[in-house]
Amino acid sequence: MARVLLAWEFGEDLGHIRNMIPIAHELRAMGHDPCFAFRDATRLDEVVHAGFEGFPAPALRPPRTVNPAPLTFSDILLNLGYENGDALAGALRAWGDLLALLRPQVLVCDYAPTALIAARRARIPRATLGTGFWMPPSFDPLPALRPWIDIPIAQREALDARIAQAVARATGSTDLATMRELFEADAELLCTFEELDTFGPRPAVYEGPVTDDQGGLPVAWATLARPRVFAYLKPRDSHFEAILRALRALPGEAIVAAPGLEPSLAAAASGPALRVFAQSVAIGALLESADLCVLHAGPGTAGRALLAGVPMALFPMHLEQFLVARRLVEAGVAVMVAPEDPVIDYGPWLAQALGRADLRAQSRAHAAKRKGFSMDAARRRVARRIADLAAG
């Protein structure tokens, strides 16, 4: 039996938890002993209710002002507080003490770079797990986040050097490791498809999504009217109202899941052809016969749409979603509105997307390529690879 520590350090998205808990169940079924470390300890309740132990992950101190347009992953680490030497030293010390206390045979990091550094120092086998954005290909210097912008190598090297020096200062080490050395893992568990990988395609194993995020209100299409549009949206997005207006104007039927919306607003926005739910809904059955999926390009929902062969209209809200959206547009299965584009009447734009036969054909082709894909099997493969690391 091996103890496996699954660590989540950065990012607000609950997808991290939703990926890790099913993998932990799989590991437990194999006879192992998984436990968790989250920076936001108020989220550990899901871990508790699943019958696992959860620890707080050490926190850094982000700078008061951050760079709104980071160039590389090193730049993101600077935004997360890697240059606050006292905080980084404190966090690495606390990670080291937590690893010494728990003595895991494997550390699995889902956006947990500081844990990765601590495990390297403690010589504990480590895996990275995620949908790719925080797992840049291991090169020195790290690649640009936006491949279409030409950033001189020297500039990327300088960003990497700032992180390497910050880590060396915080650990009191004279050995100046490169970014590749600091963040390289024994296994890279890419729980996504290559069309969704912000750094893809890369020569790595894409295990595919490992969770179908079950739960959510069961909802069915109410009419036979076409087209059928399913939308999964955040009500705080600046496009939200305009998208609802556009969906209401379309023929056919639309279903919108907007978790976090005031229930009274959801009720007021709903009618016979457009139903708005202020919670998550069970999307599997809806996507099976949907003609278009409108979303922010979160990798979870986008993966479901890809598997169902449904074309996507994407409204990314931040850099990671924008990079995912760009990959999907490249694959010919999606259209997108960039975060900085002015809000317009999206009715004609959505109608045009619905009419595009090439989007439909490409989406079906990508789905056909994955016929027989099973998330259960992907989850088991990922758990097996983690267990193999523990076995050495």
Binding site: F38, T42, D45, G54, P56, D86, A91, A94
Partner: protein
């Protein structure tokens, strides 16, 4: 020997880590094993070297303090803003504390503003003590009493806040098969409250039948700093760079006839340059107050342990509150007559005027000296010795033998 966990969960001031480290050092010298479970890990760098030997863990905490909780009237409101507004969030926090205490195999918890650590210790039947000034150790009344004195309050507010927080507490306790509490105040039940203040300074007002252990300033830790050999009144500044009056304070000190010893953590280079000179020392680390307070004319701070150290040395204080607890301390010091406090929106003229008054009007120093005289037998070293003794007493009475608890 026992394994003693220091828990600091709420509040971002400098005093928590420093006070814990001083007591931890004393316990460690008695042979006990110490772990810090702290809210802010960057403060470890400021602690005395001896603290480097202790194990350190991140304290479970809510990342979004006061998130939409509105103004706080009682400790219940503060709890609601720190994760107690939702049983699910509190279940996560409590689970984190339980996991840490279980795996580290703690024999006792010393809670410095750490109510959820107290809940975890209660669930495990561990001995536990509160360690803090008056504010973090509310009188155990139901509902928890109001500390806010400057705003009208709906009389039912206290009971409502208590009930909401209690519902979360009981929801979280149920997730770990713990029995429900009847009143919120039970969260704060301990084997001992190390209430480290005096009745005159207690933010809740003097409370009956409470044992006051006296303030917990460690005036013998920190960087040794000497007053520069120049003319001018001596002013100590112990403030945070983000507080609104820092620029007015720096300009006043830099343009006046003062000698200055300042500790302003994470101060940017431009402001440092404005303040630093041959007469004005800007320390990189917390300063040792013990010799510095001798002959000092004024200490400017946010009203934490440093202000109390100044009071006990007969030195007037200027308090620049950045939150309500500090405002209440400022108010108490003004009532003692030894200090003044300023609103965050005070003008530059008000800042320089207050500094001049505190240095020139003899009543402030006289009141501070009278207070110090009243407590002249008070000794921080003796307080610490008694606290250590009481902790060992609690440990020796705890029914479960050490090492067999799980």
């Amino acid at each position: 020997m026992a394994r003693i966990a220091f828990a600091w969960e709420m509040g971002g001031e400098l005093g928590h880590a420093m006070a814990c480290s001083v007591l931890a050092r004393a316990l460690s010298r008695r042979g006990h094993r110490v772990a810090f479970m702290f809210r802010e890990l960057h403060q470890l760098a400021l602690l005395p070297e001896e603290a480097a030997r202790f194990e350190v863990f991140q304290a479970p905490m809510s990342l979004f303090d006061d998130h939409g909780a509105g103004p706080a009237y009682s400790m219940a409101d503060i709890l609601l803003g720190a994760g107690y507004d939702d049983a699910r969030k509190l279940t996560g926090l409590l689970g984190g504390w339980l996991a840490l205490l279980d795996h580290w195999n703690a024999d006792m918890v010393i809670a410095d503003s750490a109510p959820t650590a107290l809940l975890a210790a209660r669930l495990r039947g561990l001995p536990r003590a509160s360690y803090g000034n008056g504010f973090s150790i509310p009188p155990r009344a139901s509902p928890l009493p109001a500390f806010r004195i400057d705003a009208a309050m709906d009389p039912s507010h206290l009971a409502r806040s208590d009930a909401r927080a209690l519902e979360s507490v009981n929801g979280a306790l149920a997730a770990f098969a713990g029995p429900a509490l009847d009143i919120l105040a039970r969260v704060f039940e301990t084997d001992e409250d190390f209430l480290c203040t005096f009745p005159e300074l207690d933010q809740y007002g003097a409370r009956p039948a409470a044992a006051y252990w006296g303030p917990r300033f460690g005036d013998d830790v920190g960087e040794p700093v000497r007053w520069p050999p120049h003319e001018g009144s001596r002013v100590i500044a112990y403030v945070r760079p983000a507080s609104p009056l820092v620029d007015a304070l720096i300009d006043t000190l830099a343009s006046g006839p003062y000698r200055v010893a300042a500790y302003i953590p994470e101060l940017d280079a431009a402001r440092r340059a404005r303040l630093q000179s041959a007469r004005r020392i800007v320390s990189e680390r917390p300063m040792r107050l013990n010799p510095l307070l001798e002959g000092c004319g004024l200490l400017v701070s946010h009203g934490g342990n440093a202000a109390l150290a100044a009071l006990m040395a007969g030195v007037p204080q200027l308090v620049l509150p950045t939150q309500y607890e500090q405002f209440l301390t400022g108010l108490r010091l003004a009532q003692v007559g030894s200090g003044l406090w300023l609103r965050p929106e005070a003008t530059r003229a008000e800042v320089s005027g207050a500094i001049r008054r505190l240095l020139e009007e003899p009543s402030f120093a006289a009141a501070a000296k009278a207070f110090a005289l009243r407590y002249r037998k008070y000794s921080p070293a003796e307080q610490q010795r008694r606290i250590v003794e009481r902790i060992e007493d609690i440990l020796s009475r705890s029914s479960t033998p050490q090492g067999e608890r799980q």
